[in-house]
Amino acid sequence: MSAEVMVKAGLFDCRDAFAATLEAMAAEDPRIAVVVNDSVNSTKTKNFRARFPERFVNVGIAEQNMVGVGTGLANGGMIPFVCGASCFLTARAMEQVKVDLGYGRNNVKLCGMSSGMAYGELGATHHSIEDLAWTRAIPNLTVIVPVDPIETRAALRWARDFDGPVFVRLSRLPVPELLAADYVFQPGRVVTMREGTDVTVIANGVMVVRALEAAEKLAQQGISARVLNASSMAPFDREAVVRAAKETRGIVTVEEASIYGGLGGAVAEILALEHPARMKILGVPGVFAPTGSAEFLLEHFGLTANGIETAAKELLSGMAMG
């Protein structure tokens, strides 16, 4: 199915799959609890609160406390899903994420909502483009960026069954269903979305559908692009990166995040040490975004199918000239 066909089949806000999965898991397992920072609406947990009020904790606007409370719930045998806008959850509570979750290896599931630049015109205070760099640097913390509603469900179920801290980075930007209904999340593994032999595009989250659209445009021009979904940011699939470097002529990374320390950084670290290769890193280039809607900002920073297509062609033509 082409990316265009998939988009026509329907677009989804992954928060709906997130909320439905939390409720389904809570109905199955009395250990599931939810902690929010007044973010009942933006995390879509109103229904959870109505169905499981005794397992729903609203700490108010207090992110450090929210992550600490999650840690204590885990100590007491619960499986807490600590949910808030990714910008505040990660930045405000980063020391709790480092010490209570990573260092303490506590069984807490952080759910960062509306990450990247989903909040658009609300501005840089509400953008969460540093969260991948911050969380990826913390030992023991699994970092997942689901690509669609199916992977959102799969990642949450995996997180429930995994005994350790997890950060799930979710968006609110609409995406199509890209994975098979029976998909099972595997940490440390990329998902090959499309095979290709000329160039590899490694993307995650809302950028994957754009990468698939770019691959179709490239195919029409005789360029075969491999597309990898790097939903597991930590641990990272080193083998897939090295394989891509060996089997294709260059790698383009695309993330709705800063180009420093995130997906591009992860891939560059692997390439530099294990198999140096040409690459381009697409993302937010070390600036705070100007005012504009999420779609405007993605366009502004070239985080579109056209932007990815252009980057891939530049990479390949640079090599030809090189």
């Binding site: 904790v57 406390n65 600490g68 204590g72 719930l73 100590n75 807490p80 209570d100 303490g104």
Partner: protein, 254 residues
């Protein structure tokens, strides 16, 4: 231990010691041979820098062998300068960054509530530590959720790293602050075992309210040259000072 490691926080160790001993040897329901017993009372040592007296208490309560104490802060020792729950049985939370313990303890108390369990949660903070805002976030949560299965003990030794608390950032009136946040507050002599045991064993002191025990203590308690001296927040005794301190704490006859 601090003399051995050549680094540590002896002043706070000594102000907190009597609270720790009372909790572990006279108040909490624990199974030292089964540190993860789900029904155990929880204790969160929020002032993780006072790990020497915490480890000594864990050894006395038989969670860890006493011979571990001689390895305090040695290379690759399980006894880090601040406690690591993944290395030391009986430690509930990795602390050392201040202001983490009370939020964690609130989560523990909520977990007990969700499960209808009867175990209680105790947490010990420093007084200077209360300058971290996360404590007051947690204070509001505890009161809002009526967590009367939670007991906070504040080691009110009135000294922090740089100076006296009241010369740094004024903490008083501390009892009134906690009352205003919706807690039941009681002040005790933090070196009076009987008074501590009575209060800690008796909590909650008011149904529906979390308990705040302000333990008035003396930093460096029991060692005359350390008592009430901000310089002994950090500090390593010399050989002669160690001998003098032993003499004062243990008495010449022991």
């Amino acid at each position: 231990m601090v003399h051995h490691a050549k680094v540590g926080h002896p002043g706070g160790d000594l102000s907190a010691a009597d609270v720790l001993v009372t909790l572990y040897l006279a108040v909490m329901r624990l199974r030292p041979t089964e540190p993860g017993w789900p029904e155990r009372d929880r204790f969160v040592m929020s002032k993780g820098h006072c790990s020497a007296s915490f480890y000594a208490t864990l050894a006395e309560a038989r969670f860890i062998p006493k011979d571990w104490l001689g390895t305090f802060m040695d290379p690759l020792s399980k006894l880090n300068g601040h406690p690591d729950k993944n290395k030391v049985p009986g430690v509930e939370a990795n602390t050392g960054a201040l202001g983490h313990g009370l939020p964690i303890a609130v989560g523990c108390a909520l977990a007990a509530r969700m499960q209808g369990a009867s175990w209680r949660t105790f947490v010990l903070t420093g007084d200077g530590e209360l300058q971290e805002g996360s404590n007051w976030e947690a204070a509001m949560t505890a009161a809002n959720y009526d967590l009367d299965n939670l007991v906070l003990i504040v080691d009110r030794n009135r000294i922090q790293q740089g100076d006296f608390t009241e010369k740094t950032i004024r903490m008083d009136p501390l009892p009134e602050k906690w009352q205003a946040f919706g807690w039941k507050v009681v002040e005790v002599d933090g070196h009076d075992y009987d008074a501590l045991q009575r209060v800690l064993a008796g909590a909650p002191l008011e149904p529906g309210k979390p308990t705040c025990v302000i333990a008035n203590t003396v930093k460096g308690r029991g060692v005359s040259f350390m008592e009430n001296q901000p310089s002994w927040h950090h500090g390593v005794p010399t050989d002669a000072q160690l001998a003098a301190a032993r003499e004062e704490l243990l008495g010449s006859g022991q």
